[in-house]
Structures are given as structure tokens and as C-alpha cells.
Symmetry: D2
Subunit: 295 residues, 4 copies
């Protein structure tokens, strides 16, 4: 009753070394009223850190649908599934080894300082990050600070102190402007506002959906990355979890690129969701000023 | 070829005493493609200061349309005219005596401190002043300042220093949110932003269209009034003219209530506009901190 | 423990004649964390129909706050109350006789066809009814229909068939544009969209908060009124209740003018609300095409 | 005084065969007040059709800046230039042979019908195409039409008949919602609205900046492409030029990805722009119903 995907099998692989790894999982149940394509972004982004992973799909109908894996930007992977009518359960679980073994993205191609196409793209306004519309406010508030790390840290700090984290305060259509004006939001809104202010000040910035060990209540989490000194540095204006324990899922211009499930055609409603994310040993401490690169 | 309105005639009245008065005028020309009702708000608000005034209407057609005067709030007067096809010219001119002879509105009814229906109305969000949507930002920015005059002065100061006065920078549909985010606007935008921030902090605030001696280039002007300590005080975040020389035309929730001409039914295009506003003697000096009540 | 307001007392007045009246009530409970002024709009608008009414206020503190009644537009009444810290209960109940005894507003002043200041005001865009921004769509969709009643009926019909009534689908900051684009809303959104499209086509339109016998689930309700042929006619694109049994509470440009409770200063949270509205005998039937004037 | 880029030189190459080609050019002059990076998207997208092309840069300063070419999506090329203070002139000219020699993009990878990452990306809302917010209206208006070509043609037709092409009617921050509501716009707005309605109905759609022989007045032009039956078909709701003569420059989610010049860092103002686009022989005729694939 279970299709395993991808091929590498969870059970056969020896456990990762203690005190270094992460275990993340996600269980979703959909009620499918009309057959639908569902695009999942729940698997962790490709990297040398993946020790083992497993994607299980369960449905009422036969044959079981097999997910197709599509490669997204920055290691992201999207799993596309044709869901038949009935109940659909999708479970993902991954075990990751310590990040020390790998170089963060961006370090290598930083030589020269010339903007790349990717960085230019992440300077542009997007659906929930209308940076072109907030240049005036961004410059008035942060324009006098020295460019670079200090300015992005000031932005993150400002958001942290001025925006209240209020569950249920924002709607799915809200943009960073709503967050800025109403002073309320959840993690995706905090990330959108950080991205928007960065781009308005000509700092490339992008959205990352992550597993976040330590998050309470546990759920998917979102942070933003800014391009500084030749690397993508991770910022989280919510300051709810240590950044160094985050595990990247999807990366994009904003939340529109990183939904954990997009239902296309047909009708399917999310009926249950459970996310877990743990770290072996103690959670690291985040002093909010250190550089963190998201794996 | 000229219908005079209202009855009191400009020419017969002796000139106002020197060094005390204001003379304001407005000449509008419309090309009327289809007969239209046009609602003008170009006459100065009723007060004891009006020494003489004259409204002239010229059209290609006969009989000449006679404007109907409708009483608006706060002394405002709206002149409604049925414009026939062709060219329509409307000229208004008023001479006002010194304001020293009159008590400003609001002083009388300030006793008790109980909110009135009018003040409650001017606490509510309006088309271009969506104060309900910016409470978070307003409180974060100004919430720690003592309520009352100091806070409204801080708001006005903040707008003055953060918003650039750029001719043509804003569009007719823009609200105070656009001004706040883009950091650009013209007088109506400055007024809308002031009103919006005041209301978000529970200070009743309203929009006033005015004649503004000293404005360069000369045009209609807009300011805002905030209810403080039992009176309506005048604020102008553009700081382009002395507030004490302003002459009130229309008052309302925002620019939607104070358009100098609204074309209803039919089609008429404004082809020319000329506004003048002068003060006898020297323009007063405005130190931007004194209390000013708009007459 | 109860302050009665206004003076006329419920108990002493004989019951209204059978099969003709309405009984409406509203019970609100607030938790007041910091003393606040609360502006209530829960009393029915003044008219000859009020047979008896009673407003009761209960608090933990002494002395009991006495509400001040402020007269609003179109017979509306606003009750302003200084709520002390603690629990505040406000109960309103009114009994109304049959409307047959009274002429609807607007009939009298319809002679001549000249626009009044009131009608001009209700042509203007407002916070949740940005009619200036939807002229293109309104004209494209309804511009070819004959002006007057047929056009407003077409607008109401169009909204009824295109917008889904979905509880919880809209947020407090949403305007008629959101309703138009998302195709979802609740009663206030339906009313806002009707008002917006009417004004965009130069039909004066206003918002009315009402008690609505027959509404299921029972709650406050909102409809809109359009000025046609010299009178304010009532429209309800939700078609959830017969219009002829509605009882007017507050009237204004949009929901910003008609909130059942506005908390000013301090902090108070609504903890419970119960609304009732009944009609003696059977609910009337509404064929959605008859003219209805709201009392 | 001229740096040629890329290496192939205009003058040495024999003219393209008659009656088959296109010649396009673009001359831009900037006043550079502070040294700036400028990202140009004025070169035609890579294809076998480019017979010859030339990019000339002229500045007051020495040494001449050399543009770096960055590869964008769908053959697009972005030229990044460090502009020194002074006057900067950039001239581009390309000669293209007949398109008959090449297969349009998308034909090859249409087998199977499975959505690709690219198509999923172009289903997502973007800055000026907030498709997630207009699902209700899109479904109400077009939901009953059969999916596929007929529906996209109905969308294009609807936009053509309901939106007026008015130069200067839209602002740089406007989205497709503004176009839909105000009923006015220019080519980019028409394209944004088409994209938005397509995506809301789950048809992948993207923005293309093009050279447009026959456009009057001549300027850069914008159209949209929808993914239908395994290929990207070109739609132009303005119907101002034949689609088959268009020449692709840049492709993206919306205009944010296709600006002809983005100034980054520093300050530079566009002082002059001249665009030309001609076709050898007569302009083709477009009956607006034929399938057109943009090269």
C-alpha cells in the first residue's frame, strides 16, 4: 500500500553519527473530491547531508500514484503526484548528517563581485515582495546605514522589534506591505518583509522554506537569505529558532515559489498536517549576529 | 454673457482695509462634449471674513446656466451647474478681511471633552486615508510619544522629512499608503498621510482644500486639521506656505470630499486652470510650531 | 446594577399589536483591560415605529457608566460609553410597530430632480467602496443598460450570482475590490460591492447596518441603498432575508460608519455577542424585484 | 569611441536575403549622475535567426566600459554595464533572417503532457500578475468555457474589447488588478492581465518583451505567451501589430523580469530612447485566431 520514493531505502542505511544530525518529517492528508495534480515541496533540498530519506504515498485507489521528482532551483525538489478521488496521505521523512562536511552555496562563485543572473533575479519585485513600491520608506529608514551586512542586520532587527508575531493575523493574499503597515504577521510575512526591504535597497534576497528544529508550535517555517560579500546569508526576523539548525526545503522569490502543496486541477483539501524537526543532542544557540549559511 | 452669483456684487463694495486681507481667485475652462452636471468647490467657506465675492459663468449656449449653491459641512459651499455642450468658463473671486475679528471654529464646543459625532466621524478610515490598515506602523513609530499636540507635531515633522514633494509623482487613485511606501507625493498626499497617521492613533483628523497665498507654483493647496484640546489645529507637512494666510474652501474626510470640480453625467474636460491667492502686505512667517486655526 | 437608557421603560409600555411588529435585541459582553470609550451603534434608527426600547449596561465597577446618545445621520443613534476595567455587558432591546404608518425617507424631497449635498456625498468613493478605481469595469459590465432601477437590479443580480457567500472568507481590511476579484465575501462585502458599482455608474449609494429577521445564522446584517427616482431603495445581493422586514440601525458611506462597536482609547475585547430579530407572524416573502424602502 | 559587442561585426556580414527578414534597433542615452551598473535587455533572444548584430557603447569617460553578457531564460540575454559619470549612449542593432528555418520552442518537449518545472513556475502569481487574488472573477467569467485554446482566446478577446489602450493611463507600480478595474492600460498592462487570468485558470503564462514591426508609435512592445497543447502560443490583446513579425527580447514572469534597462547603484536617467523594428517587404496580416509561436 506504499510506494517508496526515491529508491534509497530508509531501513537499510545505518544511523547517522550521534550529536550531529537532524531528523525531519512531514505527514499530510488530503481529501480529494476531484482527481488533482498536487505539487509537493516537502523534501529537503539536495545536498551531501542527506543520509536517508523516504517518501510514502497512500491512497484508497489502485494503482498507487507514483510521484515524479522535478528539480527546482538551489537544490530544491518538487514532487508531482496525480491524486485519485478519495483520501491521500503523503509522508516524508529524512535523516541528515552534520553540515560540517560541506561548503555552503555561494562561497565558490563570489570572486570578482560581478552580479550574476541569479542575483539580478533576486533583486526584482515579486508577488508578496513588492520592493519597487517601498523604495522611499526603505531608503528613509535604512539608507544612511553602511551597505552590506550591517544594513541587513538592521533591517532584521527592525522587523523583529516592530512586527508582532500573531498567529492568524495575516491572510494568504497579504504582501509585505500589509505586514509593514499592520505590524502583524507570521513567519512567511516576516520573511517577505525582510526580502522586500533588502531588494528595495538593492541587496539580492530570496525566500527559503525550511524545517526548523525547536519551533514551537512545530510547523513549516520560512526565513530569508540575503546576498552579502559573495554568499547567501540566512536571516530570521522572528528569532524563534536557531538558524544553524534549519534545513532547507524550497528556495524562491517568495512564498509563491515554496508552497508545501499546490493543488492543480481538481479539488483537494488539506485535512491534516503534522511536521516534525529534531536535532540530535541540544539545539544550538543563536546569538542573531553570527553569519549563518543555510544548507 | 455673465451670470453673477451670489447676489452681492464685487464692484460696488469698497476695498477692504490695507495690510489685512486676502484676495483669491480661480478661473476654470472646460470643454463640454456632452451636457454634464459639474459640482464646483472653489468658493471660500462661509465666515464673517468674506468682504466681497463673485462667481461668473460663461458659456457658448443660451440661456446661461445658473449655479445652485449647496451648503457643505464646516461652512463649505458647493456650486452645482448644468453645463451645456461647448466651452464653459467659471471664474470665482473673493476678497477677505483680516481674520482677527473672528473666533476659530471648535473653541466654543470644547468644554467637557466628550467626543462629538463629528469627531467620531473624523476618526474613521476613508478612501485615501485607510487608517485602520496602518495602526501597527503608526503605533510603532509614534505610540510612545505623549498624546496630543506633541504627537501630531511629530507626525507632521516626520512626513516633512521623509516624504519628497515631487510634482507628478502620485496618481489620482493613490492613497496615503502609497505616499508612505514610495516616499513621494504632492500636497494632497502629504495631507492624506497626516490624516491617516492621526486617525490610526485616535486623533480626529480632516482634510481641507485651501487657497494658499505664497504657494509656488500657485495652485489649489491641501492641508489637514487635527482635533486637539478642543479645537481644530491646522498642519501642513509640505511647509510650503505660512498656515496663517490660508483660506478654507472645502472640508471633508479626504480629497474625495473636496474636489474643486466633479463632473457628473456627460463629458467635460478641464482645459485651463488658473488660481491666484494673495495677501495684502507681506506674507506672514510660519515657524511651524505655533498653533494655527484655519478660517 | 442596571442603568436604563433611554428614559422610556420597556416594562411599562403595552405590547404592540399582534402580527405587525418586529422585536430586535443585541447582547454584547466585553472584557475591558484598560478603560476605554466604546461607541455603540446597536439601537434602531429613530422613527415613528419604535414602540418601546431599552438599553441596559452592566459592569463590575461603580458607579455605572451612563451612555451618551449622539444623533447620527438618517436617524441613526450612537451610544458612547466610558467602560471601566472589568467585564462590560450591554443589552439592547426594541419593539417596533408595523411600518405601514410611516412614509419612507426621501419621498418628500424628490421633486425637481436636482442633486442634493447628501446625494453628492454618497457618490464619492469611501474606504471600502473605492468606486473611483473601478469605473472601467463598471461601465464595461453595466454601462449599456438603461440608467435607473434596471441597472441597479442588474448589479445586484450580478453580485448575487458571481460572489459566493462564504463565512470567514474576508478580512476586516478588505474592500469591494477584494470581493470583486476573489469572488467571496460576507454580507458587508456584498453591500460594499453593490455600493461601489453604483457609485462608479453615478448612482448615489449608501451602506445600512440592519437587524434582519430570518437571517440564519442570526447576526447583524448589512445591505445597501441606492437613490433612484427620488427615493432610497434597499438592495441585498445576498438575498438571505426579506428586505421588507429589515430594521435600520446605522447608515453611512460604508462599514466604517456603521460598526456596532468601536473601541477608542484603552483595550476592550468582544467576548460574546448575541443578536436576535423576529417578526410577529410569518416572515414576508421577497421576490427580489419589488421596491423596498428601509425604515 | 565605440566598443563592439559581441564579436561578430555588423559591417562585414552580407545582407540577409530580401523579403524574409527583420531589422531591429534601439538607441538609448542616459545621463549618469553617479556611476551605476545598468542591466540592459535590448538584444534579441538567441536563436538561429540572428544574421548579424551589434552593440555599441559610447561614454564621455575612458576606458570605455565593456558590457558583460549574461544568459537569461528562454534565450534571453542581459548586458550588464558599469556606467561612468557623464553621458552614456547604448545602441543595439540586429538583422534577422526568416523564421521558417527553425522550430519553435516547446514543440519538442510536449510529449507526455506532464507538467514541467518551467510550466509550474509560470502558473505562480508574480508582482504584476497576482493571479491568486483574481481566481473568483476569472472562474466566474471564463470557467465554463472549454479549457485550452478557446479559453485563452476568449480571455484575449475579452481584454481587447474591455480595456482601452490609453497612453499614460497606467503607472509603473500598477498591476493587472488596476488594469482590470480601471479598464485602461498600455501594452504591458494588457499582457499582465492576460497572464493573470490565464494563471488563475491554471494555464501557464509568461511575459515577453519584443520588437514589434508595425507598431505605431514605435516603441518596445509586450505580449504574453500561454502554454497550450505542448507549446507556448503568443497572444496580444492590444492587436496593434501582427504577432508573426514580433522578435523576442526577454521572457519572464512579468515586466519585472523584462525591463529594457535596470539601473542598480548610482543614479542614471534615461534621456532619450529610439526604437525601430522593420520587416523586409510587407507586414504580415494577423487574423488574431491563428496559432503564433514567438521566436
Amino acid at each position: 500500500m506504499t510506494s517508496q520514493h526515491p529508491a534509497n531505502e530508509w531501513a537499510r542505511i545505518p544511523p547517522a553519527p550521534a550529536d550531529s544530525g537532524r531528523v525531519v518529517s512531514c505527514d499530510l492528508v488530503f481529501g480529494v473530491d476531484e482527481p488533482a495534480d498536487i505539487a509537493f515541496q516537502i523534501a529537503v533540498a539536495r545536498s551531501g547531508r542527506i543520509h536517508a530519506e523516504r517518501l510514502d504515498v497512500t491512497t484508497d485507489a489502485r494503482p498507487l500514484p507514483r510521484p515524479t521528482e522535478l528539480a527546482g532551483p538551489h537544490g530544491g525538489r518538487l514532487h508531482l503526484l496525480r491524486a485519485p478521488r478519495g483520501t491521500l496521505s503523503v509522508s516524508y521523512r529524512a535523516e541528515l548528517v552534520s553540515p560540517e562536511a560541506e561548503q555552503p552555496e555561494g562561497r565558490a562563485n563570489s570572486a570578482g563581485g560581478q552580479l550574476t543572473m541569479e542575483q539580478l533575479t533576486f533583486l526584482r519585485p515579486s508577488r508578496y515582495c513588492p520592493s519597487d513600491h517601498v523604495v522611499g520608506l526603505a531608503v528613509a529608514e535604512f539608507g544612511r546605514l553602511p551597505a552590506g551586512r550591517a544594513r541587513v542586520e538592521a533591517i532584521t532587527d527592525w522587523i523583529h522589534h516592530r512586527v508582532a508575531y500573531v498567529v492568524g493575523s495575516s491572510a494568504v493574499h497579504d504582501s509585505a506591505e500589509d505586514t509593514l503597515l499592520t505590524g502583524q504577521g507570521v513567519c512567511r510575512d516576516f520573511a517577505h518583509l525582510g526580502i522586500t526591504l533588502c531588494r528595495a535597497l538593492e541587496v539580492p534576497a530570496r525566500f527559503a522554506a525550511v524545517y526548523a528544529p525547536g519551533l514551537d508550535p512545530m510547523d513549516f517555517h520560512a526565513v530569508f537569505e540575503a546576498w552579502i560579500d559573495g554568499g547567501w546569508r540566512t536571516y530570521d526576523a522572528t528569532r524563534k529558532v536557531p538558524r544553524s539548525s534549519l534545513v532547507r526545503i524550497a528556495t524562491g522569490r517568495d512564498a509563491a515559489d515554496a508552497a508545501f502543496a499546490d493543488v492543480l486541477g481538481g479539488f483537494a483539501n488539506l485535512q491534516a498536517i503534522e511536521v516534525t524537526a529534531t536535532v540530535t543532542g541540544n539545539l544550538p544557540v543563536d546569538d542573531h549576529s553570527a553569519d549563518v549559511h543555510l544548507y
